[in-house]
Symmetry: C2
Subunit: 416 residues, 2 copies
């Protein structure tokens, strides 16, 4: 069978069975997930063996250490993946709930019932844990799922999907609720992105080139999971100690993730004290790059250029700009931010109101680290990524965001 | 200036000012809309004169009566359009509301604040009233808007936009919150659909070819407003009189709209009585097309083919199929429906539960006409169209559906 027909067949199958799958009880969905969690632990030897193949091939190709680490599974990681499936299993489900129902003057009762989206497709890159996370979140939210992982992880992903599909059958359901595109050819992605008749939403999860490729080419509605050029604004009325802790945490607790801070904006009035203390705190771990005013306070650091303001370093680098007031900070953020996570540190009520109202981002923080933008931290359990678009979902994509609604309208013979 | 730069410039402008516009008060938005409503009435002579130009050109081209009627404005229609703007002005606004706020174990307070989408673009066809409706709904929901109407209505739309922009300036705001693409060349649409950096959502409003064109080509997230291949299932436990009234209303009150019924499914046990009565009621107005079993009861009607089951007639034609049970009805609907509006007529609780749970559509009705799928009828005031996709909004697109949210997170120095 050629690649196109293979992809079409899998997508058709996912669509065909999605209505029936949407109707099973949450107890059944929970049961499927518990079988998956168990099976992952029991078959860890097999999974690690297959993962080893990917790792060897990757080493031959001379892949970077960071990428190798992303690709690598071990007993502990499989245990954690399995745990995460159990956590998803135990999340409360809102499927079938009618969140609000109102009565019209003509007596019609109109309500919105929570239902699954239908078929969710995910295109992702090297990390094999995404295979399991995505499957678990889709199963819990009543969706059938089409998985398309990176070619470097093809053996690991095939093994994981085998384990998942076995577990689903053991639980008494059709393994076809989880479809896996086991073709590494890019053509498979191109074909997948055309199939809007069968697929309700496409979630790309990975680097900017993957995200842009789907935006440019997908005919299926996309939930964009984007970059994080995040800022912390330290106001003149900031508690300096809180500000130091927050910037330190937002920068160095995990610089490679999208919710880490890249640029800090500091109010002129406290810049001298704050920046000197910050430099002492982070100098040995972080490369500072400063605007002209910053260089007067910290002449030993590199100058920042316009390019710095728009860069998501994902590294131990911090850009620093001194601003005259909160207006300048807001303007800078709304110009350069990728609308992910933005924070202010201040004790001033008026300034807080202004910042909360005027910053356009998925998450706007007051006196807290940007690192909290995460499904788990928001109380959603696991997540499918962080949405930086405005349609449908913004911020962490949890199981509720993988649902839609249908109107149910109860009448007694009404006509118009 | 060439077409591409002109479109880019308008989209950039809409983006540039959308953050500021999002922050004005609802009192101000209301005021702008009241100015627009007034100005439309005061300038009706000018609008009608310009409309006359479009009508003359259309007649020269030998356009159909139906299309001419869509294009035509008169005093009464302008009065109704103006009234509709006032209605939108007076709708309650949820912008800035925080719908829910919860406290995490670490003390962080996390809430979801309602905010505008930003920049909304609408591509529509002949009806000039859409120009005003779309502008009013976007202004009320805090969005800047880019309008692109059909070439047949270019003079009417230019006049309406002039009136709207004048009114906005009289109210003391920038007329640039309403951008109008006054180029009829198709290139303008092609360019517009690429500008995802500036436009947050694209709503195509018109026939299937327009909708499909945007799905195939837009890089901006689209809210699909689609076709309505709607069904009414008359169950064995139906109240026959209610069923007759409902089918009559759903078919003939306005056959040209998307929420009109196209196929009815009738339970075998009551088919004889119901279909004979329905034929007497509608025979002189509607062309019946039946399945084989139907032809045994009504041998005088035309046979229906598979093509009929998938056709949205938008005309005085009704396809009829006799089914063995509710399962067969549900299966038929989930196969052929465009997921717009589907109804059941029955007094049986178990059958109702089954139908409500298993039908996949934007609106699922019990004992009421499908004709109620409409923003006004749902209590939303005006609407931007009926969404038949699952992402973001399903069914009538009201002002709340033109908003998104941002997380506001209040902390006291929390780090992760």
């Amino acid at each position: 069978m050629n690649i196109e027909s293979l992809v079409v067949e899998k997508a058709m199958k996912a669509k065909q069975i999605c209505t029936e799958f949407a109707l099973i009880s949450d107890a059944d969905r929970k049961n499927i997930l518990k079988y998956i969690a168990n099976e992952l632990r029991e078959k860890s030897d097999y999974i690690l063996l297959e993962n080893q193949k990917d790792l060897s091939l990757a080493k031959e190709k001379g892949i970077t250490e960071a990428l190798l680490d992303r690709l690598k599974l071990n007993e502990e990681r499989i245990f954690n993946i399995s745990n995460s499936v159990e956590k998803v299993a135990n999340l409360p489900s809102t499927l079938g709930d009618i969140k609000t129902m109102w009565k019209r003057p003509n007596g019609l009762m109109i309500g919105k019932m929570v239902v699954p989206l239908g078929v969710v497709a995910i295109i992702y890159e090297a990390r094999p844990n995404v295979t399991v996370d995505a499957a678990a979140l889709c199963i819990k939210s009543g969706n059938t799922v089409i998985l398309r992982g990176g070619s470097e992880a093809i053996n690991s992903n095939t093994a994981l999907v085998n384990v998942i599909q076995n577990a689903i059958e053991k639980a008494g359901f059709s393994k076809e609720i989880v479809q896996f595109i086991d073709v590494t050819d890019r053509k498979a992605v191109d074909e997948l992105m055309k199939l809007y008749q069968y697929i309700d939403v496409l979630i790309p999860r990975g680097g900017p080139s993957l995200i842009n490729y789907t935006i440019e080419n997908s005919r299926i509605p996309v939930i964009q999971t984007g970059a994080g050029n995040c800022h912390v604004y330290v106001d003149k009325d900031a508690d300096i100690n809180k500000a130091l802790k927050i910037v330190e945490n937002a920068k160095i607790s995990r610089p490679s993730v999208c919710n880490a801070v890249e640029t800090i904006l500091v109010h002129n009035d406290i810049a001298n004290e704050f920046l000197k203390k910050l430099y002492l705190l982070l100098n040995n771990k972080v490369e500072f790059r400063g605007c002209k005013k910053t260089l007067k306070i910290l002449p030993q650091i590199k100058p920042a250029t316009d390019k710095d303001w728009e860069t998501e370093y994902l590294d131990y680098i911090l850009a620093v700009k001194i601003v005259e007031d909160v207006e300048e900070a807001i303007k800078h953020i709304n110009t350069y931010s990728s609308k992910h996570s933005e924070a202010i540190v201040t004790e001033n009520y008026i300034t807080i109101r202004k910042f909360l109202n005027e910053i356009d981002a998925a998450a706007v923080y007051v006196n807290a680290s940007t690192r909290f933008t995460d499904g788990e931290e928001f109380g959603y359990g696991a997540e499918m990524g962080i949405s930086t678009q405005k349609l449908h979902v913004r911020g962490p994509i949890g199981i509720e965001d993988l649902t839609t609604y249908k109107y149910v309208i109860l009448g007694n013979g009404q006509v118009r």
